[in-house]
């Protein structure tokens, strides 16, 4: 897809993600917006998928390991045509809604390949999916988006270790490296935010890109696919809350709901075409 069209979609799903949080009065807008360009590029350009057949067995798989960012996933699935009819009001986090607070593969949202919400599990599960593809001689890829905060979970590195050891070159992990976690910055919390160094130390094919540049995201996946033998880490420099002036790099928006005034700003900055 053309760059301008992808950027337009990324803007659109940002708006929809914030709208569902505004309407549902709960959610994590900052973490959703920081990975918007990656999710949009995967679903509208990179991944081999069919929205009319969400469980198609040869599809590329996707895991949002940082499950709290799910509003952007819900919005993207909706824009991509997974929800039929297209959803107007998401009722995010409301009783009886299919749009759970963290993504569930059994709540009724087509296209959710894996439940997440307990942080750190995406790489291990993705490695299992990638391993199954190798066993079944399938050529689908498994894509995982992790937060940088959840890299503090030990199971992450168990998965990183195993995926390299088994040569799972059909596994592509994006790290949404916005530098923040729930409470403070990554640096404040653990004293270092050296994601690329860590993946390189584990022997992964590692790239560092601007996670808001759809061209760079597309190019990094192409390079990954041409580099066999090792799983792929794409460390994405991102800005938490990207796309809204009042939200960017302000960790108050890890979780929060726009006021009416802020919703008006949202409509100006992200609304329309």
């Amino acid at each position: 897809m053309e760059t301008a069209a992808l950027q337009k979609i990324a803007r659109r799903v940002r708006f929809e993600a914030v709208r569902m949080i505004y309407e549902g009065k709960e959610g994590h807008p900052g973490p959703a917006l920081s990975c918007a360009d990656i999710v949009a590029t995967l679903y509208f350009d990179v991944m081999n998928i069919n929205p009319d057949e969400p469980d198609w067995e040869d599809r590329d798989r996707f895991i949002l390991s940082k499950g709290h960012g799910c509003p952007i996933w819900y919005a993207t699935l909706n824009e991509r045509g997974y929800l039929k009819p297209k959803v107007e009001h998401f009722h995010l986090r409301e009783l009886g809604s299919i749009f759970q607070g963290h993504p569930s593969m059994h709540s009724g949202v087509p296209g959710i390949d894996m439940t997440t919400g307990s942080l750190g599990n995406g790489i291990a599960i993705g490695a299992g999916m990638a391993y199954a593809a190798k066993v079944h001689k399938k050529d689908y890829y498994t894509y995982v988006i992790c937060g940088d905060g959840e890299m503090q979970e030990g199971v992450t590195w168990e998965g990183v270790n195993m995926a390299k050891g088994r040569g799972l070159d059909n596994l592509v992990v994006f790290v949404d490296n916005n530098g923040w976690q729930s409470y403070k910055t990554i640096e404040f919390t653990i004293g270092q935010n050296n994601m690329a160094d860590r993946f390189r130390a584990f022997g992964w094919h590692t790239q560092e890109i601007n996670g808001h540049d759809v061209e760079q995201i597309k190019a990094a996946v192409l390079i990954a696919k041409k580099t066999p033998g090792s799983p792929h880490a794409i460390i994405c420099r991102t800005i938490k809350g990207r796309g809204l002036s009042y939200m960017e790099n302000n960790n108050k928006w890890h979780k929060g709901v726009p006021t009416e005034e802020q919703w008006a700003i949202t409509q100006t900055e992200l609304g329309g075409e």
Binding site: S118, A124, I125, E158, N161
Partner: protein, 313 residues
């Protein structure tokens, strides 16, 4: 005459080989203790159906979930204390919440693992597994029943936990002994008290019943191998027939099989019940039989509990 003894884990290993021979989608995963759990037998015979995940229990379960999602039937195994404990979050949220077809084997369970001490003695695993929705929990009594339980676990679609000990334990069932998941098995008919047991405590219960018979106390012995879903009909029928119950298990009293029986009886047919199990303490190092005796997990403890519960009728 000496009693024939075989470790239950041999039954697990045998079952895996049978399953993989019949279905190449079955895959065994272990966390660095495959020799102990007997999943090494898979590596030796079917190397493509085995993954050693290393010392990484959470990754073991996470990867198994991904494999299950990819159409395979993973059997994960490691020591029960780490299997159920360290990977509980992954078992809960990734496997059970999603009702994925992941099979989980907790080996070296109970205090009888011996000298390794409290850190390695899984005495809580049944409680934290049976509390999970969608989970099936089985505690077999010997190697042959472990084999049958493992095969039965493969026949259901969904999470399954089987737990077994390290030591060679007396053979109390044969190949022809019936086994049905979710159905308790009456091993000995009696009328004064029902002793409901599983795991290594089943043999102890059968021996206790012989001792009590000499004192004209008629003991019914029931093998409650499937802790969840519990066989309500069998438990209630035993309570009605005998009027009192003793439960015996190599596990904490709080939350284990005895608790499951008490939950069942309280709702359906309350009768006096005594509990044989670990009484809210950790274990310690020692030889297996020493520990079983020190923690009242033996025939004489069952005999005493039977007398106590009959007096409460």
């Amino acid at each position: 005459m000496s009693i024939k003894k075989i470790p239950m884990r041999d039954g697990y290993g045998k079952a895996l080989l049978e399953l993989i021979a019949a279905n190449p989608k079955v895959i065994a995963l272990d966390a660095d203790v495959a020799k102990s759990t007997r999943s090494i037998w898979v590596k030796e015979k079917f190397p493509n159906n085995f993954i050693d995940m290393g010392i990484a229990e959470q990754d073991l379960v996470g990867t198994a979930a991904g494999l299950a999602f990819g159409g395979m039937m993973p059997f994960t195994s490691t020591y029960a204390v780490f299997m159920a404990g360290r990977a509980w979050d992954e078992i809960r949220t990734t496997v059970c919440y999603n009702n994925l077809n992941v099979k989980i084997a907790g080996a070296h369970a109970g205090i009888s693992v011996g000298p390794d001490g409290a850190t390695h003695q899984a005495l809580e695993d049944v409680a934290i597994m049976r509390v999970l929705p969608n989970m099936t929990v089985v505690v077999p009594c010997d190697a042959e029943e472990t084999r049958k339980a493992t095969l039965a676990g493969a026949a259901i679609n969904g999470p399954f936990y089987v737990r077994f000990g390290r030591e060679a334990v007396p053979v109390v069932t044969e190949e022809s002994t019936p086994f049905e998941l979710g159905k308790a098995r009456t091993c000995r008919e009696g009328s004064d008290v029902a002793v409901i047991a599983n795991g290594a405590m089943l043999y102890e219960s059968l021996e206790a019943a012989k001792i009590l018979a000499e004192e004209n106390i008629s003991v019914e012995v029931i093998d409650l191998h499937t802790v969840k879903p519990i066989d309500v009909d069998a438990v209630v029928a035993a309570a009605k027939k005998c009027g009192c119950v003793v439960t015996a298990e190599e596990h904490q009293i709080f939350g284990g099989m005895g608790s499951a029986v008490a939950e069942c009886l309280a709702q359906n047919y309350p009768v006096p019940q005594e509990f044989i199990g670990i009484n809210d303490s950790f274990g310690e190092s020692g030889q297996p039989q020493e520990l079983m005796d020190a923690y009242n997990l033996n025939q004489s403890a069952i005999v005493a509990a039977v007398k106590k519960v009959i007096a409460r009728k």
